[in-house]
């Protein structure tokens, strides 16, 4: 036990002291935040004004098309599908001369994709125009029509979803649980690859440096393997902890951008349920309170369990692969395939599970240990996973990683000392069933 502790300590310290660890741990969250800001910035600034030439000889749409910041509509007569570019338009909207029914096609011609956003806006304009005309044709007063059109969603109703479980009623927010489920599933998916690959590289390094033989003359191969796996798990948890601290720090820093008065005011407005005038402070506060409304008391412990459990399940398999690889990194690629496939598959199931947490594939996926770490995290934030499923899933994952570790240790023990020979899956199978 003492020796395994030494190995864990070495694995942990050499990694944590490494400059790349320090940089990636601190820079990665900053990078993501930067990415979010950059995306937000570009989505605003890149929407340069699009000039669309509309050929509307019958004048059906002329009155109802409204130019916006994004799109300007013009109705020149000398523009056609061949020369709109020279005339300075980004697109040409052709409405057939004899337009009157749904069978007729309206075509938008441009020399490059306008983007979904712009296309959607143009379609909305056409829809509105057609609908308005239909109303007018049927003698609906234009004033009434305008007032109906002005009603916004917020003005008509407030939409709330409530999940009832027994006599407990909870405010639920499906977008939030979707986001948290997807985010945590994705995080586990990423970390399985990152730390799994770290284990594999570590094992390969020891084998190629031939230090493995020196160490195995002091400790058992199993101790060496477990020491590495646990050491890297500790590195992963450290990294996670640093990220959590960074996130909390950053959100506190953002809060301090707003003056206390503004926040107090916003809070008061919020509690009165006042809609309408919304300030940045209020947006921020409501986002924060929505975020805090998730069931973090369940999500965080579960996340930690599946983060560690999933890692332990796969890490030993990565170690086994590392132990049989020789100098050729290409070999590692093909040997890794049986491990990476289930991880990728779990990710795909997870994307379904966040939307349909009760679908059979989600339930099974979250119980079978190959996929449970990722899929279960996709389901848990939805708040309606029965306790027994969580317990069964956790037990099977625990049993699963004990089993994979035992099997992997058998391959590892032989592979780590075998040089210069390409190992096939068949041979590895033989090692599994051989007595020591």
């Amino acid at each position: 036990m003492n020796k395994i502790w030494l190995i864990i300590k070495r694995e942990y310290l050499t990694r944590v002291r490494n400059k790349t660890f320090i940089l990636s741990t601190i820079l990665l969250p900053l990078f993501f935040i930067g990415l979010i800001f950059a995306a937000a910035y570009f989505s605003v600034s890149s929407t340069e004004n699009q000039k669309v030439a509309v050929s509307d000889n019958n004048g059906i749409f002329r009155s109802s098309f409204q130019s916006s910041k994004l799109i300007t509509y013009e109705f020149p007569t000398d523009v056609n599908a061949n020369n709109f570019k020279e005339k300075g338009y980004t697109a040409f909207l052709k409405i057939p001369e004899d337009y009157n029914s749904s069978g007729d096609s309206i075509s938008l011609i441009s020399d490059k994709q306008l983007g979904m956003d712009a296309e959607g806006k143009i379609k909305d304009q056409i829809n509105d125009a057609i609908r308005n005309q239909a109303f007018l044709r049927n003698n609906i007063d234009k004033k009434i029509l305008d007032s109906i059109n002005k009603m916004s969603e917020d003005g008509m109703y407030k939409f709330r979803t409530v999940v009832k479980q027994g006599n407990k009623t909870e405010k639920s927010n499906s977008a939030l649980s979707y986001g948290i489920g997807y985010g945590s599933g994705f995080l586990i998916y990423m970390t399985l690859f990152i730390y799994g690959a770290a284990v594999m590289r570590g094992v390969m390094e020891e084998k190629m440096n031939r230090i493995a033989e020196v160490i195995i003359s002091s400790v058992k191969p199993f101790q060496l393997m477990m020491g590495k796996i646990i050491g890297i798990a500790a590195v992963g948890l450290t990294q996670l902890l640093i990220w959590i601290v960074l996130i909390i720090l950053l959100s506190t820093v953002t809060t301090s951008f707003f003056s206390p008065e503004a926040l107090q005011h916003a809070q008061a407005m919020n509690s009165m349920g006042a809609a309408g005038e919304s300030s940045a402070a209020m947006n921020f506060l409501s986002a924060k309170s929505t975020f805090l409304s998730a069931n973090w008391a369940l999500i965080i412990p579960c996340f930690l369990f599946y983060f560690v459990g999933g890692y332990l399940f796969y890490a030993s398999l990565f170690a086994a692969v590392g132990s049989v690889v020789n100098e050729d990194p290409q070999e590692a690629q093909s040997l890794m395939l049986p491990i990476t496939m289930p991880i990728i598959l779990s990710f795909i199931i997870m994307t379904t599970a966040v939307g349909k947490p009760d679908a059979p594939i989600s339930v099974w996926g979250s119980i079978i240990p190959f996929s449970s770490p990722i899929v279960m995290m996709g389901r848990i934030p939805s708040g309606n996973v029965p306790a027994w499923q969580i317990i069964v899933s956790m037990l099977s994952l625990t049993a699963g990683f004990i089993l994979t570790t035992m099997l992997a240790a058998k391959i590892y023990r032989t592979g780590i000392l075998l040089y210069g020979k390409k190992v096939t899956f068949k041979e590895m199978g033989k090692w599994l069933f051989r007595k020591s």
Binding site: N2, T14, N209, V214
Partner: protein, 303 residues
């Protein structure tokens, strides 16, 4: 007393018999040579003695008891043929880590490491990484890490490969010193000439089988061909004799082979009778290499 005794060890791989029924014993405090060409099964044998491999059958008796890797491993130091060190780890830390894995506590390990580093003039290397060392330097470090925990049995697989003569001698001297202090040393090599000046006792293996076993003196004696080299002050006329035959002559030397039933003194007497000015008279013993070729050749024929 034998510190280590191997009884009918076998280790078969799918394709070949790496170790096929080998038995021998190693007296405590001796320098023992395990010899054989590449692929003879030496490394497999050593891996079984160090607890890395389990034998398919047979027994290993260590200090009179059945070998138990978990308990006995701390008493063994093993330097594998393929040297291994963490390339990115600092040398001092690395030595400390390996010593502690052998069960030393931190304080003792530090003290020992400092002693050895001073002895090998490595004190200034403490914070260097293995990557920054020359091959000879890392070889020295490897040796130090192997002997730090003062093993009772020290196993060296090709300890001189890649070392220059100066460092070779340095390590050779340390091996002798350790042996004088009671450490038993197993010295595995395919280079027979290295063994002649170091080992007391040897075992020769080939194709997984033991083909020779005994003290170096005994083995040489068994295989000697009664050949002597006689040096003269001015080469005399060749003598035709019943007691010996001149095999060759070169410069001022005759190489003679003494016929059965005769003694070296008879040869000397005959030359003296012919008034030859003898200045030297030496027995030529076969080198281990020659013995190996002879024995391995005949064992191949027997197969």
């Amino acid at each position: 007393m034998a510190i280590l005794e191997l009884q009918n060890l076998k280790k078969y791989y799918a394709t070949h018999k790496a170790v096929d029924d080998i038995s021998f014993s190693i007296p405590e405090g001796s320098i023992f040579g395990l010899l054989g060409p590449n692929g003879a099964g030496k490394t497999t044998l050593l891996r079984m003695i160090t607890g890395i491999f389990y034998p398919d059958s047979g027994n290993i008796i260590f200090e009179g008891k059945k070998f138990n890797p978990v308990d006995d491993i701390a008493k063994i130091g093993y330097m594998p043929e393929e040297r291994g060190l963490y390339k990115k780890m600092k040398i001092g830390e690395q030595a400390l880590y390996l010593a502690m894995l052998k069960g030393m506590n931190r304080k003792d390990a530090m003290k020992k490491i400092k002693e050895w580093f001073v002895k090998f003039e490595m004190e200034s290397w403490w914070n260097k990484k293995v990557d920054d060392l020359s091959k000879g330097m890392s070889q020295k470090l490897q040796f130090v890490t192997t002997v730090l925990h003062e093993p009772k049995l020290l196993i060296l697989d090709e300890p001189f490969s890649g070392l220059d003569p100066v460092n070779s001698n340095l390590i050779k001297d340390e091996i002798f010193k350790l042996a004088q202090n009671g450490t038993t040393i197993i010295f595995s090599t395919h280079r027979m000439e290295q063994v002649e000046e170091i080992c007391d006792k040897i075992v020769l293996v080939n194709n997984g089988k033991k083909i020779l076993d005994g003290s170096l003196i005994q083995i040489k004696d068994d295989f000697k061909e009664h050949i002597f080299k006689i040096g003269f002050e001015g080469l005399p006329e060749p003598i035709n004799s019943n007691s010996f035959e001149i095999v060759s002559s070169k410069e001022n030397y005759f190489t003679v082979k003494i016929k059965k039933g005769n003694k070296p003194a008879d040869v000397l007497k005959e030359f003296l009778d012919h008034r030859a000015e003898i200045i030297s008279f030496n027995e030529i013993l076969p080198s281990l290499n020659e013995i190996f070729i002879k024995v391995a050749g005949s064992s191949i024929k027997n197969n």
